[in-house]
Symmetry: C2
Subunit: 135 residues, 2 copies
DNA sequence: TATGCACCCTGTAGTCACTACAGGGTCAAG
DNA sequence: CTTGACCCTGTAGTGACTACAGGGTGCATA
C-alpha cells in the first residue's frame, strides 16, 4: 500500500500543493488520513481521483461539472446518459466560444489592416474605438 | 451642455451602473462632478471615454490594455506605433486561444464519438478521464 | 401634505479557480 | 545539532465585474 505525501501526490498529477489543499477545502477531494506529524497521507484511490479531476479540468470542464462527473463515475451500474449530456453541453459551449473568438479575430485583423502608421490623431485603431470622436 | 446621471450614462453605453462606479474606483474614469444631492454628474467627454472603454472591452482588450490605449489616445501628435503593438499582441493572444479551443473541441468530439450509451461502468468518457482505472 | 416609487449613495462581499504569502512545525541527512 | 526541504493553517490577492444591505434624493400623484 503506497502512502503519498501531498507533494508526491501533487507531482504525480501535475498539480500544485496549494491546489490539492484547495480541492480538499471545497470538498472535491476527501480529507485524507494524517501522519503522526499531522501531514496529509494519500493512497492510490486519492491519486486516481485527483488524476480524474485534473484530466477533466484540462478538457475545460468547470469544477462543478467535475463534481457531477465524479458523482456519476461512482454509480457504475447507471446509464451513462448524464455523463454524455454534460460532455455535450461542454462541447457546445466550447464551440460557441470558438465562434465568438473567430469573429473577434476578424474584427481585430480588419482594424489592424487599416492602420497607416501615422500619428495617433489619424490612427484608425483609436478612431474605431471612439466612434463618436471625443476625448 | 448635456448633464447625465449615472443611470443615463450607463444606459447610453450599455454598461451597468455598478460597473461605471467600478471604473471610477479603479481610476479608469475620472471622478465626475456632483449635484447638490450628491449625485454623480457626467458630460459628453465622460460619455466618449466610457464608450471607448466599452468598445475596447468588447474587442477583448484587458482593462490594463484599455488604460494604455486611453493614455495613448490623448497624445494626438505621437506616432500610433504603440497602439499598433498593443492591438497586434492582443490579436496574437486571441489566435492562440482559438488554436487551444480548436484542439480542445477535437478532443471532446472524439471522446463523445466513442460513447456507446451503455452503463457508467463501460462509459468511454469516464474511462478517458480516469486513465488508470480507479475510483 | 403625504406618500410612493425610481433612482442615487457608500461599503462590503461574492463570483471562478486558483495562487501567494506569513508565520510557524516536522523530518531526514550530514 | 543544524540545515534545508518539506509540511501545516489561515488569509488575502488575481480580473472584471456583480450583488447586496442599508440608507438618501427627487419627482409625480392622491
Amino acid at each position: 500500500m503506497t502512502r503519498l505525501a501531498i507533494g508526491d501526490l501533487a507531482k504525480a498529477t501535475g498539480t500544485k500543493v496549494e491546489t490539492v489543499r484547495y480541492y480538499e477545502r471545497i470538498g472535491l477531494l476527501p480529507e485524507p488520513g494524517r501522519t503522526a506529524g499531522n501531514y496529509r497521507s494519500y493512497d492510490d484511490g486519492d491519486l486516481g481521483r485527483l488524476s480524474f479531476i485534473r484530466r477533466a479540468r484540462d478538457l475545460g470542464f468547470s469544477l462543478d461539472q467535475v463534481r457531477e462527473l465524479l458523482g456519476l463515475a461512482d454509480q457504475r451500474d447507471r446509464s451513462c446518459e448524464a455523463v454524455d449530456v454534460i460532455a455535450r453541453q461542454h462541447l457546445a459551449e466550447v464551440e460557441r466560444k470558438i465562434a465568438d473568438l473567430n469573429a473577434l479575430r476578424d474584427e481585430l485583423a480588419d482594424i489592424l489592416g487599416r492602420c497607416r502608421h501615422g500619428t495617433v490623431a489619424e490612427c484608425r485603431i483609436i478612431e474605431t474605438l471612439a466612434p463618436a470622436a471625443s476625448a
